[in-house]
């Protein structure tokens, strides 16, 4: 029986003076799971994930991360095993060199010098940034900055990794690189939660998704079930991925099985139908 990485019970939250942003969220994420949280702007996705490392605390209900109630732990304590990568890398870059930027979290957590050197080198190589290690991080391109932000969290190898809108402003190649990183981390047994409204990206790299609408969880399930369900997608105001749309035209002619939103599975289903 896998144990719970994150347990959310009847979570209600609002910012001061405002309306409820989260309205009774119940959610379990097991260790080693890979899940995308989808929903339109203002659905409460970012507010929800900020509860996972204690940046926000529930007003009603509770959030437990690896069994620890987030109300009873500091952000720094939770951050040791929950890595949160924010949407905009410009909100965190401050160091003079790429290397220093990546080492920031390790210094906060009190790692020794040698360990820092080894880990920074590994993280930079993994994110394809090693050759830039002495450069000023502000001189990097948009995609490189995004990878740098990722490296600065992955460097301390948190068990749970959360990414907020990692694909915004990224070109196709960068998205593929990112998808590869996500798959690799998940294969290593890490729990990954990715917030996005990029349906194509989700169709290609995810099997399990959560759809949020207006502070509530509308649905959770297999990607090929939810992303092809027009009623749910309309309610969530999300765009149908192209293969889901193509599949609706081919209904009756092709028997789609498995996760047919992935290109190779889609092609296989069509090949079978053609004999």
């Amino acid at each position: 029986m896998p144990s719970k990485a994150i347990e959310v019970r009847d979570l209600w939250f609002r910012y001061e003076e405002g309306e409820w942003v989260l309205k009774g969220i119940n959610l379990d994420i097991e260790e080693g799971e890979l899940v995308a949280i989808m929903g339109e702007n203002g659905a409460g996705k970012t507010t929800l994930i900020k509860h996972f490392n204690g940046l926000l605390k529930p007003i009603r209900g509770y959030v437990k991360v690896k069994g620890i109630d987030t109300r009873e732990a500091s952000v720094a304590e939770l951050a040791k095993f929950v890595g949160l990568v924010f949407q905009n890398p410009e909100h965190q870059i401050f160091a003079e060199t790429v290397e220093e930027e990546v080492a920031f979290a390790l210094r906060n957590f009190g790692y020794d010098k040698e360990e820092i050197r080894i880990r920074v080198e590994r993280a930079l190589k993994e994110m394809n940034l090693y050759e830039y290690r002495d450069r000023n991080p502000f001189s990097l391109s948009g995609g490189e900055k995004k990878r740098l932000a990722l490296a600065s969290v992955l460097v301390y190898d948190p068990e749970i990794i959360i990414m907020d809108e990692p694909t915004t402003g990224q070109d196709y190649k960068q998205k593929q690189v990112l998808g590869g990183i996500i798959e690799r981390l998940n294969a290593k047994g890490r729990t990954l939660i990715v917030v996005t409204h990029d349906t194509e990206f989700v169709a290609e790299f995810f099997d399990d998704i959560i759809i949020m609408v207006d502070g509530r969880i509308l649905a959770r399930g297999r990607v090929e079930k939810l992303l092809t369900n027009e009623a749910i997608m309309k309610k969530a105001r999300l765009l149908l991925p192209q293969l889901a749309e193509a599949a609706t035209y081919l209904k009756g002619k092709v028997n789609f099985t498995g996760n047919y939103l992935k290109v190779e599975n889609f092609v296989k289903c069509i090949a079978e139908a053609m004999g």
């Binding site: 490392n53 720094a76 951050a79 410009e90 909100h91 401050f94 979290a105």
Partner: protein
């Protein structure tokens, strides 16, 4: 950090329909300028108290009392500081009285400007300035600065979140460590805002800012009956105070 947020929120306009919100922005500007001059003219504790109390009907009618009180709460450390410094370095014999009036003066000024900013949108303030023949470039710089505060507060919060997520603990360590803790917050903030200002400048130029044409406005400010009455009340108050100063020699 909470105190700063409270103070910032005490100067941030929010749309509401109240008699104070509906007042002509020029009347509110007149009010704040008059109170500014009066509180600089007097050191008398009772007069300064009176200036402070003029805010109360305004915050009540304007339904901004919660934010006004919150702003004052945020100011408390600063008020204590002003009081202590003035008490210790008072130029005259009665240090207690002097420190009290200096603190009251600061409080009265903050309160007056808070009321005006809480109930007047930056756009209508700009219009008031233009009507008073201030060149458009200056007015724009002023409104943009005012408009920028909430954006700045939001960016600051995001940066703090991002660094705390990487294990930064703002409230930990000795004095030197705490000062050092601000580097990862202030560097991204400054870089980000400078970049943003260039972007805004480019966006403005690409929409034709700076073309020497006469501007027209979507909304025009007009004085209503209430505006005249309030103006009269403000001017009467100022006149009485000035008379007090001249006739009874109240300082």
């Amino acid at each position: 950090m909470n105190g700063i947020m409270r103070i910032m929120k005490g100067f941030e306009f929010r749309e509401l329909d109240s008699p104070i919100h509906r007042l002509d922005p020029r009347v509110k500007l007149l009010y704040s300028c008059c109170m500014l001059v009066l509180s600089l003219l007097f050191v008398n504790i009772f007069v300064l108290m009176l200036i402070l109390t003029t805010s109360i009907p305004l915050v009540l009618l304007g339904r901004v009392i919660k934010r006004w009180l919150n702003m004052i709460r945020g100011l408390i450390p600063l008020l204590v500081f002003i009081f202590v410094v003035n008490f210790l370095f008072s130029p005259n014999i009665n240090g207690l009285e002097y420190a009290t009036s200096m603190t009251l003066r600061f409080l009265a000024l903050s309160s007056t400007f808070s009321v005006v900013f809480l109930t007047t949108s930056p756009e209508s303030l700009a219009m008031a300035l233009i009507k008073m023949k201030v060149p458009y470039e200056f007015t724009l710089a002023f409104t943009m600065a005012v408009r920028f505060l909430p954006t700045l507060a939001r960016d600051l919060q995001r940066i703090i979140d991002a660094q705390r997520a990487r294990g930064l603990e703002l409230e930990k360590g000795g004095f030197l460590k705490r000062v050092k803790n601000f580097i990862p917050i202030l560097v991204p903030l400054m870089v980000y805002e400078i970049r943003r200002s260039f972007q805004i400048a480019e966006a403005m130029e690409s929409r034709g800012f700076g073309l020497p044409k006469k501007r027209t406005f979507l909304y025009e400010a007009k004085f209503s009956k209430t505006d005249y009455i309030v103006t009269l009340i403000i001017l009467t108050l100022v006149a009485i105070m000035v008379l007090l100063k001249i006739i009874w020699n109240i300082s």
